[in-house]
Symmetry: C2
Subunit: 440 residues, 2 copies
């Protein structure tokens, strides 16, 4: 928008990588966020809400490599501060801090903004919402909890109705066992390469593996392993057929088998939960089950919900052993992408159900009626346009308000209200009881 | 909690001035926040959600004095960043930025965290929730909007049920007009002193006024003015009786009279909305109506909801004239204080209505039942304790879960579920249809 006078004024665009929505988009966003929250509560997860700012050392204890560079970090007074870059590290600190006041297994959800000063890039956000669930156990956490997470993911995305999706499930122990059987010393960099399979394809992954100074034999075995496909049963059979005599590998396969069995037992259809041996999740702290979720119609969005099992959540903060399993939805990116693709179409402009328009100087009736309507749970607004009905109707039109009540001299005299249904054009005078029925 | 091994571990307490709640407290907090949100929507306000981080110049344009010193400000790359210290300045920027896409009068609410690096002090927070509403007009905004805000405040606090409260209403023009009639050049510092009346009392205020180099005559008139009390009608009569021939003063009195008339018209009882000439609101940008709200039983909390009218919201960002009126609830402090006083008693531990306890090795029935219950809208959890019923019952007890379903061999054989009502101790076997009825 060109505005010659605006030059001296301060720039009003949000910072690059930060986003804000128009009200109708915000309503659509909130509807999705509330739906996720509702499902989390349906599964008995408890809400927590930790500070956005933490002591820098709290966050740095768990961050590393790329993440550390991205942290918004600064000093105020003599305290080193940092903005949280995820909701998992604050959870770890929270559980360590409030250990004695929590009931285990501790099932918590958190929905909040996190911050990563990434290089500006299309579709990347520096401030974004994460919606996290985690189940944290004391010393032990039954494997059946791992199976609950895909069930929750299924319930959420089924309800959100963005078309078919697949929850891809794997187990880190299978990788680790394989590497151990192949005598690969450091599996970390290797897994990070494999994790890129979806993004860069098998030939690029092979190239990157070569850079890691692996033998041709090792690379071949790894590549043929990650190429295993089929139904859940077929994949499990092929894994067993590899006949790898490594304890971790064997545990990983049987954990994966058990998790899949339970996920289907919960009622998740086989199309929606599959084994995908190619997923590895870049983050190093996962130790068992890992998940990713992809929307079948929009594969370019990447994983919309990822997570996994970690053996020891809070080791930087406490000596208590706290194993956990969880998942996170990156809601800002998901919403942004689906909005751009036209999958999410904001169609609610306001919560207001009725606009009251006094057409005389008397506002008494409109004010009293507004209070009555709101007491009955009907969101109402009053148009203070001093009888300019046309202006009021334009407001109704723009905000898509379904009903208008006109209150003029005749109505006041006859103790009625003129109700107009905007959609049908119908217009009738009603007494209060009838009016309430018509609107609600 | 003493833990000899913890020394090497990282400190897990939140930063001073930052707070986090235990799950039951968080549920109580969220209930209040949702109630406020619901009322805002009942009045037709639209949600917006702006970034926590802004360009420093955006925030500094509107901050001044004490506020500026409190801003969390830092540099990332070559950008000067700052964390928002309120939700009003971001609103101003938002309205300037999205002017062409908004419908005026623009009624928006925002609920979010703001940041002020204040000196640590009991009951002061450096991160806290504000719940804001504002009505922003284009060029003009009818005075009737001013009266809507106290009506909303009334509705909110009536619903929250923290006992009686008073919304104190004043108008800045009355002060300004008085000062102009008394030939006081700079009213800013004077108002800031008067604003402290409630905190420091009349004699301290008088002293501070003396420091402002006012004449004894001026001080006397000011003090006797701010001492005016009585019913709404009596106060208005006394104001008129002062016979001050200043245009602003006269406008202020008639605006105040009109606002009070409308507030009562909405149905706010006279006990709950009163004129209080002593309130001035420290912030300089208010230009007309101003509000504060005090809980009668807890006066030491101070104002729990304050706001007012400003003639030109976004003058730093746009040349458009955008008058507005709004109010803000400082929710974190309010909650914290009422929690400490025992007015808010967290009594909900979890959303879970029923815990399913498999007492055999078979988890099939529990998993299927969990899905059925959740599909019917009944929040359910499964106890994965491998038949350790005692452990399950302790979990139920701690989280105050109302129902338990035991699923053992007998139940599986007879296709029933053993339902235990924790409150009554009643225990019966039911088939699925009956079970659903009993729990929901």
């Amino acid at each position: 928008m060109f505005n010659p006078f605006k030059k001296q004024k301060i720039e009003t665009k949000p910072l690059s990588g930060f986003t804000e929505l128009l009200p109708d988009e915000q309503i659509a966003f909130n509807t999705i966020r509330d739906s996720v929250k509702q499902t989390y509560e349906m599964f008995g997860f408890l809400p927590i809400d930790t500070p956005v700012l933490e002591r820098a050392d709290v966050l740095l204890a768990k961050a590393g490599g790329e993440t550390e560079k991205q942290i918004y970090q600064f000093t105020k007074g003599d305290t080193e501060l940092a903005m949280r870059f995820d909701l998992t590290v604050p959870l770890a600190r929270y559980v360590a801090e409030h250990y004695n006041d929590l009931v285990f297994p501790f099932r918590r959800y958190a929905i909040g903004k996190v911050y990563r000063g990434e290089r500006a890039q299309a579709g990347r956000f520096r401030e974004f919402y994460q919606c996290d669930i985690d189940i944290v156990g004391e010393v032990n956490l039954d494997l059946r909890n791992d199976a609950e997470i895909p069930n929750i993911i299924y319930t959420i995305f089924k309800k959100l109705d963005f078309g078919p999706f697949t929850i891809r499930i794997n187990n880190r122990k299978i990788f680790n066992g394989l590497f151990s059987a192949l005598s690969v010393a450091d599996s970390g960099p290797l897994m990070q390469v494999i994790d890129k399979l979806d993004k860069i394809g098998i030939s690029e992954v092979t190239k990157e593996l070569e850079n890691l100074s692996l033998s041709t034999d090792q690379i071949e075995k790894i590549v043929s392993f990650i190429a295993i496909t089929g139904t859940t049963e077929e994949i499990l059979a092929q894994l067993r057929a590899l006949n790898i005599q490594d304890e971790q590998f064997i545990t990983g396969v049987s954990e994966l088998e058990e998790v899949m069995r339970l996920v289907y037992q919960y009622g998740v259809p086989e199309d929606y939960a599959v084994i995908d041996l190619s997923i590895a999740r870049g983050l190093d702290y996962y130790t068992g089950t890992i998940f990713e979720t992809k929307l079948s119609n929009y594969p370019d969005i990447g994983s919309v919900c990822s997570g996994g099992r970690y053996d020891n959540l809070a080791s930087s903060y406490t000596n208590k052993k706290l194993p956990g399993v969880g998942a996170s939805i990156g809601l800002t990116r998901l919403f942004d992408q689906l909005l751009k693709k036209g999958v999410i179409i904001p169609n609610v402009q306001t919560s207001t159900r009725v606009l009251l328009v006094p057409t005389t100087d008397s506002d008494k009736e409109a004010l009293t009626l507004a209070t009555t309507l709101r007491e009955k749970g009907i969101p109402a607004e009053i148009s203070f346009t001093n009888g300019k009905v046309k202006k009021s109707m334009s407001y109704v039109d723009k905000l898509n308000i379904p009903f208008v009540v006109l209150i003029g001299e005749d109505e006041i005299a006859s103790n009625t209200y003129m109700l107009k249904n905007i959609k049908t054009g119908e217009q009738n005078a009603w007494q209060i009881e009838e009016l309430l029925k018509k609107i609600s």
